[in-house]
């Protein structure tokens, strides 16, 4: 299957943690019809369900790795795990990195797995993104357009 699935991951009520979801929402209006766009809280099993059968999955998630806020990082997790900093950062027992590795163990990972991390500036309670996260989202949207074109 060559279907592409894009999943924006995050918690809408923890500031920049929503960056991935907001990016997915904006992408939905721009993406061609054959691209399926989802939002997710990041719970591993529902992530695995959403990318099941796809040839390519693109995940967008907020990151908190100590680099300047708004910085976008691109990882190709098709053949190797995400860097360890990406593990255990979710509010769920199994999150994005674990979902990818679980799917790899079960031989159900799409051929291509791309993860975009948008470094957040604030993960405080409440809604609303920092300008840095907004900038990161714009950059990710451009990168994804390049990726899928």
């Amino acid at each position: 299957m060559n279907r592409t699935v894009v999943i924006g991951v995050g918690n809408e009520f923890r500031g920049d943690d929503a960056a991935g979801r907001v990016a997915a929402r904006r992408l939905r209006d721009l993406a061609p019809d054959e691209i399926v766009v989802h939002e997710s809280s990041g719970e591993a099993l529902s992530l695995m369900e959403r990318w099941a059968g796809a040839g390519r999955v693109i995940l967008i998630d907020a990151s908190s790795t100590g680099i300047p806020p708004g910085t976008v990082q691109r990882f190709d997790a098709s053949r190797a795990p995400l860097p360890s900093l990406y593990f255990h950062t979710s509010t769920h027992a199994f999150s994005v990195a674990e979902a990818i590795e679980m799917a790899r163990s079960l031989a159900s990972l799409p051929d291509t797995v791309i993860v975009f991390g948008i470094e957040g500036g604030s993960f405080e309670h409440g809604t609303g993104l920092t300008p840095a996260a907004e900038k990161g989202i714009s950059e990710v949207l451009q990168l994804i357009r390049n990726e899928i074109s």
């Binding site: 809280s41 769920h92 674990e98 679980m102």
Partner: protein
């Protein structure tokens, strides 16, 4: 430290960050001369002050506010909150709405038990560091577990409006009740799920179990007609038989300096055990014939005393919940209205106790004539089990002193996971610091 074989009169096992539990906790264990001198299960998840948040809020907000306490078992919080408020208002739900609540609870038991059984606990028995590692060698089992868990999630989505933190539950019932025909796909899926759950029982029954028998006070709800979820009296296997409203006369919470969770004790008795093991011991005869047959095949009697076999009891409850969900769907009659009116015009108090996947979950609300909550008390299952977990470690460790430190730590973590402690939200990160002090 360079001595190849130092005298080991004193051993200290420290697990700074417990993996595969729901939340952030640590373990400190001090052993001297074969005796466990010090056991501290430390929960350093910060206090969350939910009881204080509830003060001044309207009683109708209680189910949605308290659901946020847990992303794994939000239904339990919603159910205990609803029952407490409805008790205060003096209303009782008609059968179809009561049945729908039971169905929603079945969904939560299935998804929560599957998460713990397949992802967190089973790797302990098979020697894997994680479910991801286990999945490489046990692909079919893990796939079956994930599918089974999804059935539980699907019930939540169908009836609750979404997978986590349902939005369809309200004091007095639901915002919207399903039509009978809407259940068809779920019923078909549940038939398959029950078969998978039965296989799961057989699979976990064959795991290797450390030998141990605890002399426990099992505490849980008991109902004359059914395996308890939402209703019943609070019973123990040592003669306790009280109404939910009497809970605080018999159980108290105490502050313990090293942990952010309160310890619960049964006054005059001490530690007690809530959860699947307790429900099973107190309500064995209310399980379905198929579940009882599976229990018998697994070699379990009417009471299970080995906490390591809690994984079997959880599997049995998954099977029961699949069957019970099917029963509810088959017998469902559409209600006249998705909810009943609930009004409070004078000061009152309500108590609610339901069976969360991890055990008894107690709520009390004092409500003013304006409908605002003036006091709230919530006692989750993990704080009730915390003291019992420490007591288990005191008894399990002396039987396992022949093990290496790494093996002993493994055994201790496995013993903690017997209780599926839900500290809140989880990580999967382990740091170990070991200290040896030669005498």
């Amino acid at each position: 430290m360079s001595d190849p074989d130092p005298p080991r009169h004193t051993r200290t096992i420290k697990v700074d960050y417990l993996a595969r539990v729901e939340g952030e906790g640590a373990l400190h264990l001090g052993i001297r001369e074969g005796r466990v001198e010090d056991v501290k299960l430390k929960i350093f998840e910060p206090p969350r002050f939910f009881e204080a948040f509830l003060r001044g809020r309207h009683f109708r907000e209680a189910p949605d506010l308290t659901a946020r306490i847990c992303g794994i078992c939000p239904v339990a919080y919603q159910m205990s909150a609803c029952h407490a408020v409805e008790r205060a208002a003096g209303v009782t739900l008609p059968r179809p709405l009561r049945e729908l609540r039971r169905l929603l609870y079945c969904g939560e038991w299935i998804e929560s038990h599957c998460l713990h059984l397949f992802m967190l606990h089973a790797p302990d028995f098979l020697g894997y560091e994680s479910a991801i590692a286990m999945a490489k060698d046990h692909r079919e089992v893990v796939q079956m577990g994930l599918k089974l868990k999804k059935t539980g999630n699907d019930i939540g989505t169908f009836l609750g409006g979404r997978e986590i933190h349902p939005i369809n539950v309200k004091v007095g019932g639901f915002y919207k009740a399903p039509r009978k025909a809407d259940f068809t796909p779920l019923a078909e899926d549940l038939l398959r799920a029950a078969d998978a759950a039965e296989k799961t029982v057989d699979w976990v029954a064959a795991l290797p179990f450390p030998e141990f028998a605890g002399d426990y006070e099992y505490v849980g709800l008991s109902h004359p007609d059914e395996y308890p979820m939402n209703e019943g009296r609070i019973l123990s296997n040592r003669g306790l038989d009280i109404e939910v409203a009497e809970y605080e006369d018999h159980f108290e919470e105490e502050h313990v300096p090293y942990t952010n969770a309160l310890h619960s004790i049964h006054r005059g008795h001490g530690a007690y055990f809530v959860g699947p093991m307790a429900r099973y011991a107190l309500n064995h005869d209310h399980l379905s014939p198929r579940t009882l047959a599976a229990a018998s095949r697994a070699g379990l009697g009417k009471v299970c005393h080995n906490p390591f076999q809690s994984i079997i009891v959880r599997a049995l409850e998954i099977l029961y919940a699949c069957e019970e969900a099917l029963r509810v769907i088959t017998e469902y009659e559409e209600p006249d209205s998705p909810d009943i009116p609930v009004t409070i015009t004078e000061a009152c108090t309500g108590w609610g106790c339901t069976e969360a996947p991890r055990g008894l979950l107690y709520h009390r609300y004092d409500i003013g004539p304006d409908g605002l909550i003036s006091q709230a008390k919530i006692v989750p299952p993990t704080s009730q089990n915390q003291k019992q977990i420490e007591d288990d470690l005191r008894k399990i460790v002396p039987l396992a002193l022949h093990l290496t430190d790494a093996e002993l730590q493994w055994r201790c973590e496995q013993a903690i996971r017997n209780y599926d402690p839900c500290i809140s939200c989880a990580t999967h990160f382990l740091k170990i610091k070991k200290e040896e002090v030669p005498s």
